[in-house]
Symmetry: C2
Subunit: 208 residues, 2 copies
Amino acid sequence: MSKTIAILGGTGDLGTGLARRWAKAGHRVIIGSRAAEKAQAAAAEVEGAEGMDNLAAPAAAEIVAITVPYENQLRTLEAVKDALKGKILIDATVPLMPPKVGTVQLPEGGCAAVNAQKMLGEEVQVVSAFQNVAAEKLKSSDDLDCDILVTGDKLAAREEVIKLVEDAGLKGWHAGPLANSAAAEALTSVIIQINRRYKITAGIRITG
Amino acid sequence: MSKTIAILGGTGDLGTGLARRWAKAGHRVIIGSRAAEKAQAAAAEVEGAEGMDNLAAPAAAEIVAITVPYENQLRTLEAVKDALKGKILIDATVPLMPPKVGTVQLPEGGCAAVNAQKMLGEEVQVVSAFQNVAAEKLKSSDDLDCDILVTGDKLAAREEVIKLVEDAGLKGWHAGPLANSAAAEALTSVIIQINRRYKITAGIRITG
């Protein structure tokens, strides 16, 4: 079923990649950015997407994704807290702390997605996903050799996000409660290390 | 090159699995347990292995692995601290906190392997590995569809452990500093969730 999805910070590689893939799958996609003009410019490159500022985008959407750098995560969400009420927030945040982005440094409390959920309160259903897919691959139209760990405290919300993961051409796995987002968040630094050492663009697959 | 490897807590599935595979690859394997008789009984089941108590085993070995439950990790290591000096310790500990083993609950400081390294000091080279392989599959002689994330602060020690990972029939990846063990430790709860939900015995593969 077609959804209206806003992507906060949708002008980066990850956000644009999701926008392209979801628009192609038939969803109405709104790219959000701090400046509406920047969002509109990015949307002009994505067939079927439109651009709004980060405040207007979530108000116009049924489902909201956030793909901003870690340092902007809570501030961006705080500003749109009311517009997120009753909605699913797909949090793709990875708590990388430059310059040591190849070293796991989990935030206070252990998990960026859990911190977002705490700040937003129970009226928002935070589901964490997309931490481990290479943004530049997602932005391309290539097949993606990567699975997505989907965590969240509400089963129905996870189910809905797993459908959107599939619409983006990826396989999503129910990976447990939102606290388990810590695994996906930490894994990104491992992937960065592997990319550097083996000169690949790594992803993960679940086997078994 | 053949090594003498002691496995603390080697009577469990993971320890016995490693013992079998390493002995088969031509290493001298010493299974350690709290009681020497229990270690000897376990060793009798593994061709080419011998059994000693957890105190004697590391003193007789060049490389030591630990595969005990999380609650016994630091206590077991503390007791053999001196015997570990100048050696590599392969730490397979997963900080699972029953009853919620399917929920990531990283320890104080964020990483069980880092806590071991801190307690043991710089004379011991802690390398973390084997958190994400199913113990019962490791114990079998089946091919293993799982990669191993190998983390540690010293490159040469990681290299040596990666060779032992290969001797056990698995692919090992340089996954960065010991702090990155947090990713492998956290991932185990994700794998437990996936096993429960999808009725599989999951592992991970690095793609790219």
